[in-house]
Subunit: 317 residues, 2 copies
């Protein structure tokens, strides 16, 4: 039985699902909450999942990071739009030899954490998950769930598969979560962007799930054009190659899968801020820095920025 203590920084659809699974499997898990802190403290967590519903009537819930114990694995499960809060959230929680597991979307998120806790205490976790919070302490897991783990390197080199990756991965596997190990975090991040950039932006701007985007010849061609620009940016900005066969398999897999609402579409429909800077802004800046033109991505970014600002003006916070 593992002695590792876990912190879940941000108990939403993602943090609530993974943290809930770890807790159900007997791990020592400490949940940081915001809006529904009192509810979860008093009533626990409920997870409705395609892999089986469960309730945790009593969980270790916190309303402030300063009240949490030091943890060996601090899982960052906030939306990147809240990353300005990370300095105050991570400092009190991470154990001296602990690691921050960044379960966020986009590019450059591990760098932000490394600036706070140092480069040797950062691991990337790329989540392929469809899950959302539908009420206080109430998570609905709709599909997928696997995580790709990879070590962060301050000079962006592949770090291979380390012992602590396998240790943490083992805890998740014991909780029924499928884990992949990647040798190269940078490549894994860019490969995920190959899917995330087209389907997050098109789903929002067309208000459509993946099946409708793939069924229309024009939006499908645009998705493919966006994928090629991401691949060109990965090559120019990071020296990482995402082969043509990978792009084709991403398109084919998306055409075959059940209608899917990317996270940005869910955020937009719910009036929440969208993760535009992490998923679009950071890759665009990397491409521009390498002299790589990405006009289609830039166009989608500009459209999304307008939409996000209009959404946020219309929403009370």
């Amino acid at each position: 039985m593992s002695q590792r203590r876990y912190a879940i920084i941000g108990t939403g659809g993602l943090g609530g699902f993974y943290g809930g699974r770890l807790a159900r499997a007997g791990r020592d898990v400490h949940f940081l909450l915001h809006g529904d802190y009192r509810h979860v403290r008093d009533c626990g967590l409920r997870v409705d999942s395609v892999e089986g519903d469960f309730v945790l009537p009593s969980v270790r819930a916190y309303g402030r990071a300063a009240d949490m114990p030091r943890c060996d694995v601090v899982a960052v499960a906030l939306k990147t739009t809240a990353n300005h809060l990370l300095p105050e959230l991570l400092g009190p929680v991470i154990a001296d030899d602990g690691v921050v597991l960044v379960l966020q979307n986009g590019l450059g998120v591990e760098e932000q954490v490394a600036e706070i806790v140092g480069p040797d205490r950062v691991m990337g976790g790329l989540c392929f998950l469809c899950s959302s919070k539908v009420g206080p302490g109430h998570i609905r897991h709709l599909d997928y769930g696997y995580i790709t783990l990879a070590e962060y390197d301050s000079r962006h080199r592949p770090r291979g598969i380390t012992q602590r990756m396998r240790a943490i991965g083992g805890d998740f596997q014991a909780a029924g979560i499928r884990i992949n190990y990647a040798e190269d975090l940078v490549l894994a991040r860019w490969k995920k962007l190959v899917w995330n950039i087209p389907f997050n932006s098109l789903s929002v701007m067309l208000d459509a799930t993946t099946d409708r985007i793939m069924a229309n010849g024009h939006s499908r061609a645009l998705a493919e054009g966006l994928m090629r620009e991401v691949a060109a940016a990965a090559s120019a900005a990071a020296g990482r190659e995402t082969p043509e066969a990978f792009i084709q398999s991403q398109l084919d897999d998306t055409a075959r899968m059940a209608p899917y609402s990317p996270s940005m579409l869910l955020d937009c429909r719910a009036g929440r801020p969208m993760e535009i800077e992490a998923i679009f802004g950071a890759p665009l800046r990397a491409a521009a820095g390498a002299g790589c033109l990405t006009p289609r991505i830039e166009t989608m970014y500009q459209l999304l920025k307008f939409k996000d600002e209009a959404n946020q003006r219309g929403t009370a916070f």
Copy 2:
């Protein structure tokens, strides 16, 4: 007093306004109608206009082109989405020495008419007008109204300002319509696209009027990027130059003008087909034929095509 007889092919917001003004000024005007033919035949036309409301209790209304007399000036005021009807509409109406005045948006519309009536009987009319039909036989003119006239040339050469341009222009001027004369139809069409391509597409995809597009730094930058691609396409595909100062003045004028809903936004909101092929498809094909890359325009085209098809699926016709 002019003896020219006018036909208005399509009595919507545009045809009803210009035709109504000509009729009010005493011209002999014959209106082709579709949905509201009986209403206009029995009750006439009503035009609510920022330049003064008026009612024409009795107008020459027709439900079929075959019933119309031969006319000296046949003004095409249909949406380009109905241009497949032109062969049957123009043939019975145009006098032997008559001219078809193409009051439509986009590129290549005069070519379509020239194929039907021959290249010497075609004149272009570029309308800067905000007007729509708000009920049977009821037009609402909100702003603008001037027309730029230019002769069509089958080899795309500037044809200068002809006597028949001045004759027709004089009839419109006598009806209180401001007229510009352009020597080069091709240049005039591309210059209009410099505005129409960014603001029609952005207004639809962002569901926003021009003031909001200009007030947001991201959408304003995208409008400028689209304008530059149109200018590059005009240069490569047609050898026409739209100088940097023209682009800047278009942006500045748009920022200064009252909130404006481009025609494509009005069509989209009303569930009507959008004029995507005339305003986007034809320029894109011209650019591609000249080896000119226009990825931003192509992106907007692909988004609009999805939106239009979704709109039309949701609408009963």
